[in-house]
């Protein structure tokens, strides 16, 4: 495959945490690429370095050496060359980030939570953005709850709101760190369905972190991390195989 066809390219990525107890090598010379339209699973035990890897891709944390390139919205960006503000704006437009702990703003209603990224990035007019937020909530089947506060809905519903928020600025890439980690298996399955729908029908590229080995087959491709090193990378999957859903 040609380098230019990948949407994310991680090159020689190393992350060392310096702590009082000494340096800790959380990622060691990680290399891989993600193609547009892939649903990539990052699988590893707790403490393997999965979240660290995501933080490198989203630019939330600094890397020690190496490079992360993202080709989206018509230009190639070396994530760690951006300053903090450029990074925030770029992230808002390019990446939707989803956490295990939802991270909704508790005082805002669901629709306002979804509108927040549009407000901050300024891609949509205020009126448009409310309409768009409503559509996104409809996508995750929460349109009728849109004026509730996050505390008034269940965890699974909150995570769906977080997904809708991640989609707010129509970013080509979604990054999810154990999005199903605090949900029961039925609810988790539902979230998974949403992701698969986004990949297949909306052409999103998704990187999802999980410690659950059994989820491996559901990704188009998966990456195994052990102690900060990529130990196994499945080949490009076959999208046709995954048609079983919906």
């Amino acid at each position: 495959m040609k380098v230019s066809s990948s949407i994310i390219e991680v090159k020689n990525l190393t992350k060392v945490y310096s702590t009082e107890a000494g340096d800790f090598n959380a990622l060691h010379d990680v290399n891989f690429q993600v193609k547009k339209g892939e649903f990539l699973g990052v699988i590893g035990k707790s403490g393997a370095g999965k979240s660290t890897l995501l933080n490198m891709i989203t630019g939330v944390d600094h890397l020690t050496s190496g490079e992360v390139l993202v080709r989206a919205n018509g230009h190639t960006v070396s994530v760690h060359q951006l300053d903090e503000d450029e990074l925030a704006l770029w992230r808002g437009q390019t990446l939707g980030v989803i956490f295990q702990s939802f991270q909704l703003l508790p005082m805002l209603t669901l629709v306002e939570n979804v509108m927040m990224p549009m407000d901050l990035c300024g891609n949509f007019k205020p009126r448009e953005s409310r309409e768009r937020a409503r559509e996104l909530l409809a996508l995750v089947e929460l349109e009728d709850q849109m004026d509730k506060l996050p505390t008034q809905i269940s965890g699974g519903q909150q995570q769906r709101v977080a997904i809708a928020r991640a989609l707010a600025n129509d970013p080509p890439i979604l990054v999810a760190d154990e999005p199903t980690g605090s949900l029961d298996s039925v609810t988790a399955d539902h979230i998974f369905d949403v992701f698969e729908h986004l990949v297949q029908d909306r052409g999103k590229t998704i990187i999802m972190v999980t410690h659950d080995n059994s989820l491996g087959p559901r990704f188009t491709r998966s990456l195994q991390i052990v102690d900060g090193e990529v130990v196994h990378l499945t080949e490009a999957g076959h999208r046709s195989e995954r048609k079983r859903m919906k």
Partner: protein
């Protein structure tokens, strides 16, 4: 509303107690500033206009002997004099018809009220011009006498009989005696009423205006000296002169200085409220770090986040202004009206002061912004990682909370202290220890809270000290007037003769004959600066106890030597004891040596003392005197009044030509009253600082409790009952209160010195001895205990009310 601004709005209303606390504390400061600035603008504008509108005399001349229209006409024609009116002013004791308490009034007889052009009276009630055998009162009289228009006023005549005159009106007199701290209240009659009061229909005062240079002090005193000289030459002896400008109220600078002090306190309140803002925003930002991280994660840039929180701060300010501006406008006018009332002049009508509003808006917006800037900038810089990693302390960069090492140091100390105390059999209750640890957990917040409370307390205590300092000084001034009764005669009598007679009156303990000399203090160029009256008590008189600033008091063998009051420094700023002053005595220029400089109420003119032994020689009145100081057995006001009465009758009955017998110094009461008004204002400001201080404490306690919600939940989960949680929180508030009290005790000392220096310079134009009192300390201790209990009970109740589930769900 865009979600971002909606978040700001919700943050504002989410925690109402917090918002109210911040808003009120800003409002208190902004309100005080608005009141003072507004009053300042109104007063400084209206005072001079209103004062000038009453056409104040530039020159007031008091003569020793009476004079008639002929003299008055000659004065009118003198060079530099625009207009002059003659009046007769005398001290007469009066009482209400149905009362037996006498009050001394300054009764002023006008020639013709219709032709009154100088020192105009402002109508207040009833007539403003009395007819023959009628009297009109100045409004201030009502403070001392319970009378109204239509009542009869009983006058005590020189021969001991009384005469009743009907009160036909009340007026305000903004100009006569303006600025004279010791002046007695006024009553007005016509010259034609004088015979009814057994007084000659002759003048003893001239009120005159000058043609040009009405606001030129030097010019006015030149004219005065000229008039005085002419009068003296023609046999009308001048014993005292006062000068004043037309467009400046004599007390203008005092009022400005006092408003300045109040303003300084207002600024302090603002300052203190800003520390509450800083504290609150620090806590708020800490609680909001996760929100900030989330917003940054979804595209928020530093500037956007910064603006959101700045908007929050500005909202606090705007809310405070909504309260403070209308109230401040009202308060400003109220304060101005109060001051105007005290000074007997009318304001030019209700109005709002745009300048004061501008200042309020500036302060109400800028101060919170400045106070909140650091926490908000730091908060908006927090990295996404730090904010959402859920473990803020572990993230890189400086810890937002205090480092754990310090806490363990405190814990080590605490353990050691507890062990040490336990060895001595003292067991500190566990909840109290927890309180203590809580208190010290947030060092920055604790410091700001302590600062606020300490400042409030120190000011509060200082105000009480200043109060006794002022009264102490008035008391000390009273020691210049230690005689219980002063008896003045129209002609000199032998001292031993008067003594002999006076001692026959039961209750008389001692009699001293005093003399005096009227001289002029000269400028170095030989022109007259001011009339200088030299009082001549016997050198060893016990009846004067001077507050010497430098040099010594008079000796009996002093010749051409004086002790002089500090007010002389306005003409000779470098004057020292031992220097010589040029005086004009009996028309001749002489050099007199200053042996000492003493303190006196600054505005009451220059006063000097020389020994009777020398002055009698100069006056050619050996062993005689015109004025006698009498000491009686009792020194209370009632005894003094009674003795003055008795002596009055006694001397008249024995054929002495008595001018008057005056008791003690009623006027000092007036001075104390005006000082108490000043102290009341200072106290109000001190209370405001205390209020802001306790709001700061309440805020701190609220934040502490909120941040410990989880801990409180765990305490309850392991069985702590409400009362224990309450006690823990209240004890914490008390600890802060008591620490601040200790610090306030220390800080109150410099504050007291500073405040009494500023106040005494404003009021007395001279620094005075500072005195301390325990009162302020005790009141503040009580207050701080109550305030800190209240400030912590509310958050404590909230904490106790939380259910375990709520607490554990709290993030």
């Amino acid at each position: 509303m865009q979600p971002r601004w909606r978040k700001v709005f919700l943050d504002l209303i989410e925690n109402k107690a917090r918002t109210l606390l911040v808003v009120f504390s800003i409002a208190v400061g902004v309100f005080s500033i608005g009141v003072i600035a507004g009053a300042y603008v109104i007063i400084s504008h209206d005072l001079s206009i209103s004062y000038a509108a009453n056409n104040p005399a530039n020159v007031e001349i008091r003569t020793l002997n009476n004079f008639d229209d002929g003299v008055l006409t000659s004065v009118r024609n003198m060079r530099g004099i625009e207009d002059a009116e003659g009046r007769r002013v005398m001290n007469i004791r009066v009482r209400a018809e149905n009362s037996s308490t006498w009050t001394t009034l300054n009764v002023i007889a006008f020639d013709d009220f219709a032709k009154n052009r100088i020192d105009l009276l402002t109508p207040y009630q009833g007539q403003s011009a009395p007819g023959k055998k009628q009297v009109v009162l100045e409004k201030d009289v009502l403070k001392h006498l319970n009378v109204k228009v239509g009542d009869q006023l009983v006058f005590e005549l020189a021969d001991g009989t009384t005469k009743s005159l009907p009160i036909v009106g009340i007026v305000k007199d903004p100009t006569t005696g303006a600025g004279d701290f010791l002046a007695q209240p006024f009553a007005y009659i016509t010259m034609s009423t004088l015979p009814a009061l057994r007084q000659p229909e002759l003048y003893n005062r001239i009120y005159a205006t000058v043609t040009t240079g009405q606001d030129d002090e030097k010019h006015i005193s030149d004219v005065t000296a000229y008039v005085k000289d002419k009068l003296n030459r023609n046999g009308t002896i001048v014993f005292r002169t006062r000068t004043s400008k037309t467009h400046e109220h004599p007390l203008a600078s005092t009022i400005n200085a006092i408003l300045g002090i109040l303003m300084a306190l207002g600024i302090l309140v603002v300052f203190l409220s800003s520390s509450l803002i800083a504290n609150t925003l620090n806590a708020l930002i800490n609680q909001h770090l996760r929100h900030i991280g989330v917003m940054k994660l979804v595209g928020g840039r530093n500037r956007q986040i910064l603006f959101m929180y700045l908007a929050l701060i500005v909202s606090f300010g705007v809310l405070a202004l909504l309260i403070a501006i209308p109230l401040g406008g009202q308060g400003a006018y109220g304060l101005a009206a109060f001051i105007a009332g005290e000074l007997r002049f009318d304001l030019l009508g209700y109005r709002i002061v745009p300048m004061a509003f501008m200042v309020q808006i500036g302060i109400g917006i800028l101060v919170p912004l400045i106070a909140g800037l650091v926490p908000v900038i730091n908060g908006s810089k927090v990295t996404v990682l730090k904010a959402i990693s859920g473990d803020l302390a572990r993230a890189e960069g400086k810890p937002l909370h205090k480092s754990p090492r310090r806490e363990s140091a405190w814990q080590r100390f605490e353990t050691r202290a507890a062990v040490a105390l336990a060895k001595r059999g003292i067991h500190i209750p566990r909840p109290f220890l927890i309180s203590l640890r809580n208190t010290f957990r947030r060092r920055g917040r604790l410091m700001l809270t302590l600062f606020t409370l300490t400042m409030g307390g120190a000011i509060f205590i200082a105000v009480f000290n200043v109060r006794v300092t002022l009264h102490d000084y008035i008391g000390a001034i009273g020691k210049y007037f230690r005689a219980d009764v002063t008896v003045d005669f129209d002609q000199p009598y032998r001292v031993d003769k008067v003594q002999q007679y006076a001692m026959q009156v039961p209750g008389v303990v001692d009699v001293e004959g005093w003399q005096g000399m009227s001289t002029d203090l000269l400028y170095p160029d030989g022109s007259v600066a001011e009339t200088l009256n030299i009082l001549a008590p016997p050198a060893h008189s016990e009846l004067v106890q001077p507050i010497l600033v430098s040099g010594r008091w008079i000796h009996s063998d002093d010749e051409r030597k004086i002790a002089i009051s500090e007010a002389v420094l306005q003409y000779y700023p470098d004057l020292k004891a031992g220097d010589f002053l040029p005086l004009k005595v009996d028309g001749r220029d002489e050099q007199w040596q200053v042996v000492g400089i003493f303190k006196f109420v600054g505005r009451e003119g220059i006063l000097a003392y020389a020994p009777l032994e020398y002055v009698a020689q100069r006056n050619d009145l050996a062993n005689q005197a015109l004025s006698f100081r009498i000491v009686t057995a009792g020194h209370d006001r009632a005894t003094q009044d009674r003795m003055a009465d008795t002596l009055d009758h006694f001397f008249r009955d024995n054929g002495f030509k008595l001018r008057q017998a005056q008791s003690g110094l009623a006027s000092l009461d007036t001075a104390s009253e005006s000082l108490d008004t000043l102290v009341t204002f200072l106290l109000i400001m001190a209370l405001l600082t205390a209020v802001v201080g306790s709001m700061g404490l309440a805020g701190t306690m609220g934040m502490n409790v909120l941040e410990r919600t989880r801990e409180i939940g765990i305490m309850r989960a392991i069985g702590a009952v409400d009362s224990i949680i309450m006690r823990t929180v209240i004890a914490e508030g008390m600890v802060i209160g008591i620490i601040s009290f200790g610090m306030a005790i220390i800080l109150s000392v410099p504050f007291t010195y500073l405040l009494s220096l500023i106040v005494s310079l404003a009021v007395f134009e001279t620094p005075i001895k500072t005195v301390f009192t325990i009162t302020g300390y005790l009141i503040w201790l009580g207050l701080i205990l109550v305030l800190s209990a209240i400030a912590s009970v509310l958050p404590a109740r909230n904490a106790a009310r939380l259910t375990i589930r709520e607490v554990l769900a709290y993030e």
